[in-house]
């Protein structure tokens, strides 16, 4: 029997059915693949292309893209220009370094707060465990923006904390809490600590806790047990949680904007302003590309852990 002969004689509906019957696996892969390719991967190449084109202040912002192909030779000169500008201007280098400093310290603070909480959740009884997990997850479902806004009310010069301290007689005049680096740390730890707790919890939940009892039985002090048994066993959870806090915190925009004001330099905010206020698309694209390069290693590490986790 000739397969091709058969197909030519059947209707379109049957043919569609045939495609579905024989190529459905390919279709299942193709649809999401195509979507991500067009709307996730391709856009990065466009950003790269624009970051390599010339900024013409007077022209519409998309003009450089059209000129790109025609002026290939000239392009090589301006390639260096946008990235060199970032390197030469003190502001950008300082802002990148400050973003990394803030996200590193915030990640450590999240770990210091999140680790004992995750540990306490794992060790608590069945009902308590579910209530605590629910309490940790619940804020995650509410608006991120409004949770940051809540801290504006607490930290303002006439805010709840200053009012409380003044009425208790601790201070006479309001201390500056809002629009400072301190406020940004509070905001990041507040919004990102669940991202630290949940991977840690997932990791600790699977651990063999009898090892801790064994260590204790063999005479190890609690501190020794912690550093030689618990900590090494929970390292995968620590890394996963740290990456989930560190990567997005580095590019954070809302928290430095609402809580840091103009005083705190962070790259996400600079990029947003460069794009929307200064309308310098090539420089904004170059800023985004450099940020991507800075974060590509931690992101690849995260992806590695993620795929190991799901494939078992």
């Amino acid at each position: 029997m000739n397969e091709a002969d058969k197909i030519s004689h059947i209707s379109l509906a049957d043919r569609l059915n045939h495609v579905l019957q024989h190529h459905w696996k390919r279709l299942i892969v193709f649809i999401p693949y195509f979507w991500l390719f067009v709307f996730f991967l391709a856009p990065f190449f466009i950003v790269l292309k624009i970051s390599l084109s010339e900024a013409i202040i007077a022209s519409p912002p998309f003009k450089p893209m059209l000129n790109w192909a025609e002026e290939g030779i000239m392009q090589i000169r301006v390639v260096v220009d946008n990235y060199a500008y970032l390197w030469e201007d003190d502001l950008y280098v300082k802002t990148y370094l400050n973003s990394l400093k803030i996200s590193t310290i915030s990640t450590i603070l999240c770990l210091l707060l999140g680790y004992p909480i995750a540990y306490a959740i794992v060790r608590s009884s069945h009902t308590t465990k579910h209530i605590l997990l629910m309490l940790i997850i619940l804020p995650f479902w509410t608006s991120f923006l409004l949770r940051v806004y809540a801290w504006m009310g607490l930290l303002a010069d006439q805010g709840t904390i200053n009012n409380l301290l003044i009425s208790l007689g601790v201070i006479d005049d309001p201390i500056r809490l809002l629009y400072s680096e301190f406020a940004v740390y509070v905001g990041i730890v507040y919004t990102y600590v669940p991202f630290m707790i949940l991977p840690l919890y997932a990791n600790m939940e699977k651990l063999d806790w009898t090892l801790l009892e064994a260590a204790a039985d063999l005479g190890a002090k609690p501190m020794t047990t912690f550093f030689t048994v618990t900590l090494p066993m929970t390292t995968p959870g620590i890394i996963a949680g740290a990456l989930l806090v560190f990567i997005p915190a580095t590019g954070e925009f809302v928290i430095p904007d609402l809580l840091g004001g103009g005083n705190v330099l962070m790259i996400g905010r600079l990029l947003y302003n460069e794009f929307n206020a200064n309308v310098d698309w090539p420089v904004a694209s170059a800023v985004a590309m450099v940020l991507l390069v800075v974060l590509v290693l931690p992101m690849m590490l995260y992806q590695h852990i993620q795929s190991k986790e799901t494939e078992g």
Binding site: Q21, Y33, F44, V47, F62, R147, V193, P248
Partner: protein, 279 residues
């Protein structure tokens, strides 16, 4: 002795953590009932800011847009994410799998400013070459949201597939069902709870997004987070406290309801399972 000290330390840290998470939200709710226009100074009880909020046409328009985007996004993201999760867990090695799994997990950690900027530039380039999308708003925001939401759905589906026993699927196959039948009749129903969770997560992520929507939106299309942001960046506003209170209450009720339904379903399944074993 040291064990007691350890558990006391854990107890105190957990209480501190929970208080840290909840006190700001509680303060937000309390001050929404403040009569005074200056948010942190108490001027007596009042519900007038809820009236101010509901009277605003801007608020209603942005709520409508946000809900429309969130629903359409959640449906598409659930379909695409489920397909992606199936492809990654059940189809073994295929050409370009590494790139695929990279593209699936990258949106989870990609800083939003980068995603937003790159999608906007993509839409502008597309418009130049194929004339679509002719205006930015509902469509572009929804596409952008689907792109990152489907990654979250894929992760949920992947972990559910990985933890699912394959004996039902194998039994169907042994009885002569074709692989596509097995997928539709056995695998998808088993994945349903994961798909529901993915839908809800996508819905919430979409309602929550400010940065990506601000990049890819056009004139006239203002989502709820965009409206909130434009108001609070100038300072504290009592009507935003009222809005926050409503959102927090809706979410709390929703989460509790979802937990209760899941709990009941699980009980029922256990019951059915034990009954079928008896037969």
């Amino acid at each position: 002795m040291s064990n007691g000290r350890q558990s006391r330390f854990l107890f105190i840290t957990t209480c501190f953590g929970i208080a840290f998470l909840y006190i700001p939200m509680i303060m937000l709710i309390i001050y929404s009932f403040n009569k005074s226009k200056i948010v942190p100074i108490w001027g007596g009880f009042s519900t007038k800011w809820y009236g101010v909020l509901f009277a605003s046409e801007e608020v209603w328009e942005s709520v409508t847009l946000s809900l429309k985007v969130a629903v359409v996004n959640a449906c598409f993201a659930t379909i695409l994410g489920t397909l992606a999760g199936l492809a990654l867990v059940r189809f073994g090695r295929f050409k370009g799998r590494t790139l695929f799994s990279g593209m699936i997990s990258a949106p989870l950690v990609m800083p939003e400013v980068i995603t937003g900027l790159s999608l906007l530039l993509m839409f502008i380039t597309l418009k130049e070459f194929i004339g679509w999308p002719d205006k930015r708003g509902f469509t572009t925001i929804t596409i952008a949201h689907i792109t990152f939401s489907m990654a979250y759905v894929a992760v949920i589906i992947q972990s559910r597939l990985a933890g699912m026993a394959q004996d039902l699927e194998e039994a169907a196959q042994d009885l002569g069902a074709k692989p596509l039948r097995v997928l539709i009749d056995i695998t998808l129903p088993l994945l349903a709870p994961g798909m529901v969770a993915g839908w809800l997560l996508s819905f919430t992520l979409s309602l929550d997004d400010l940065i990506i929507a601000s990049f890819v939106s056009g004139p006239g299309a203002v989502t709820l987070p965009m409206l909130i942001y434009s108001r609070v960046r100038l300072g504290l506003r009592p009507d935003i406290n009222a809005l926050a209170t409503i959102i927090i209450l809706v979410v709390a009720i929703g989460v509790l309801l979802a937990a209760w339904i899941m709990f009941r379903q699980q009980k029922q399944r256990e019951l059915e399972l034990s009954m079928s074993e008896e037969n």
